[in-house]
Symmetry: C2
Subunit: 190 residues, 2 copies
């Protein structure tokens, strides 16, 4: 998606440890007009698929999922990262190792909001080692619902998450795949 790649080149910052900082438009400050274009593009790529729910994970996934969901006209469910007293009882859970935070955490979705009739599109901002996507897919499978596919804004193609997930049979649509990045060379897209 050209507008997204242009924006990454213009406003993304490469930091040590393979961090691509896009917090001026994607995950701290949010350009909602760009997100609307991203939502339209996900809709175009999954056109014709039966999708009745979008699943994402807090926090920055929520922005992408909600604006995209307006184009699909379906509700969003977001997985939570920590127990709150507002989530009662029955939940599907999975463990996720976070690349950004360098720790393992539990994610959970209330059993009320996923059921075997659901056809679920998973959306998230980044795909790197694929742990978040694996955890979300596992939760959908545990509920008996169907994973239609996953839409990712930025995939780090030099990490193995995308390859592993596609080989496992999951349809993964990434709007920008970064094959390499460095302060000297900048971002190289696939």
């Amino acid at each position: 998606m050209k507008a997204l790649k242009d924006r990454i080149v213009k406003d993304g910052n490469i930091r040590e440890g393979n961090v691509l900082k896009v917090d001026s438009f994607l995950n701290h400050q949010i350009d909602v007009n760009l997100l609307d274009e991203i939502g339209k593009e996900f809709k175009r790529r999954f056109e014709g698929e039966k999708i009745n729910k979008i699943l994402t994970i807090e926090a920055s996934g929520i922005a992408i999922a909600c604006i995209a969901a307006r184009h699909f006209n379906v509700p969003v469910v977001f997985a939570k990262k920590s127990k709150t007293k507002n989530i009662a009882g029955d939940v599907y859970t999975s463990k996720v190792e976070s690349f950004t935070h360098g720790r393992v955490y539990d994610i959970m979705v209330s059993k009320e909001f996923l059921n075997p009739e659901d056809h679920v599109l998973i959306l998230d901002d980044f795909l790197a080692n694929g742990q978040a996507l694996l955890g979300l897919s596992q939760i959908v499978k545990d509920s008996g619902a169907t994973v239609v596919g996953a839409g990712i804004v930025i995939e780090k193609g030099f990490q193995d998450g995308g390859k592993l997930l596609r080989e496992s049979g999951l349809r993964v649509e990434s709007l920008a795949i970064v094959d390499s990045m460095s302060v000297e060379e900048g971002v190289v897209f696939r």
Copy 2:
């Protein structure tokens, strides 16, 4: 806002400890069409005000802020609740006591995304004791920017946050104010 109040009556659940559970449409599963109506109503209430940025706090505030921001045609900034290695260096911070989680945490916004020229509308899902709103207002003031007002989806009118904040001079627009609630009587709106 009638559609919102009707939905609270229909799908809200009252739990002990003055918890109003609205996670089937507002903060776990999200009805994006209802949120779009909520966004339109915030736009109507703040019509004529100069607003160039919307500030909220993760996680469920992000959904409301992003869909509302489409009507204001401005970017969203969301305050983060914990340090991540993706937020570098200079941040505005404030301490917030969470009603939901029963603990004190730090919220932070990168100094890059708030500056003295900004006219900021703060949006959030709940207003109870007002701590989150106070923390967000403090961050805006610390940056030298102007707080135009606050838009709240559900205010718990039986807690004192709304009263204190309005008395301090902040314009607070709540789309549903709950004056009392109990399992026996249900929800009573102001």
